[in-house]
């Protein structure tokens, strides 16, 4: 199922005006792999918790693309809360978008809502 859903999302992403360059995690295995990689690295991981019909999430998409280009030392991924509800619940995600900042597998910060400045400030703070 993961492969098929991934394919759908790739098609979906590629149809948008500016395709998302943020890696989407669709399955529990993809999530586990990403989390384990994060635990063994000093690299900051930013997780965008999103949903299909969340307007502010769509608003943040081009901003995240910009950040992917700007911060090559930071890893960006996105999780659809309807695809991985357990992960969203585990991190207490209630409103979308929620951006979770992890380092070595531990949460170091979070931003709730479509706030570019807030997110950028926290990325700058934790990426070193």
């Amino acid at each position: 199922m993961g492969i098929q859903l991934s394919h759908i999302h790739e098609v979906q992403d590629s149809c948008q005006e500016k395709p998302s360059r943020v890696k989407a995690l669709h399955t529990k295995d993809q999530w586990k792999n990403q989390f384990n990689a994060c635990k063994n690295s000093d690299k900051l991981l930013v997780i965008d918790f999103t949903a299909t019909w969340c307007g502010p999430c769509r608003f943040m998409e081009p901003i995240l693309n910009e950040f992917v280009d700007k911060y090559s030392d930071v890893e960006f991924v996105k999780v659809d809360v309807d695809e991985l509800p357990d992960v969203a619940t585990e991190y207490g995600v209630q409103a979308m978008p929620t951006f979770l900042l992890l380092k070595r597998g531990n949460q170091v910060d979070r931003v709730v809502g479509a706030s570019k400045d807030d997110l950028q400030e926290k990325i700058e703070k934790h990426r070193k």
Partner: protein, 146 residues
């Protein structure tokens, strides 16, 4: 599994004749790929225009944001029977829809004009536009590739 994924790619096409009940049953399998019915989109579009006027709030300068939220409300109306906020994560969506706190207009909106979804923005909000209307075609166009 392949049937479910295949079905989802036809979401747009079948939405006009699939009953809400049928869609609801499929939803747990297809999840976010379901398109709302045109009837519900139109209901939520009209509601949004009326409530913006009533509350003195405005749509986002980016009507794409407005369109996505209206479709999200319509999708929840189809699948849950109530326009549950599409910008929140719930452990139990049917229970939340029954409880009503996050059904649009949600309690924070009714009490403090706080719409986290950016559907209804107070004039001083940086992202507030000047419009309280949105056409069905605008919604369709803004969400054509979803």
């Amino acid at each position: 599994m392949s049937i479910q994924a295949t079905c989802s790619s036809f979401g747009v096409g079948i939405s006009s004749f699939v009953s809400p009940l049928t869609r609801s049953r499929h939803r747990t399998l297809i999840r976010a790929q379901v398109q709302p019915s045109e009837k519900s989109v139109e209901i939520m579009r009209k509601f949004s225009e009326q409530y913006a006027r009533k509350s003195g709030t405005y749509f986002c300068v980016d009507k794409g944001v407005t369109s996505v939220v209206i479709k999200g409300l319509a999708e929840h109306k189809d699948t849950l029977g109530a326009p549950l906020c599409p910008c929140r994560h719930y452990d139990d969506k049917p229970a939340e829809a029954g409880q009503g706190f996050w059904n649009c207009p949600c309690v924070p909106m009714r009490e403090r004009k706080e719409c986290h979804c950016m559907l209804f923005l107070t004039p001083e909000n940086d992202f507030a536009g000047k419009e309280q209307t949105i056409s069905f075609d605008e919604i369709k166009e803004a969400t054509a590739n979803m």
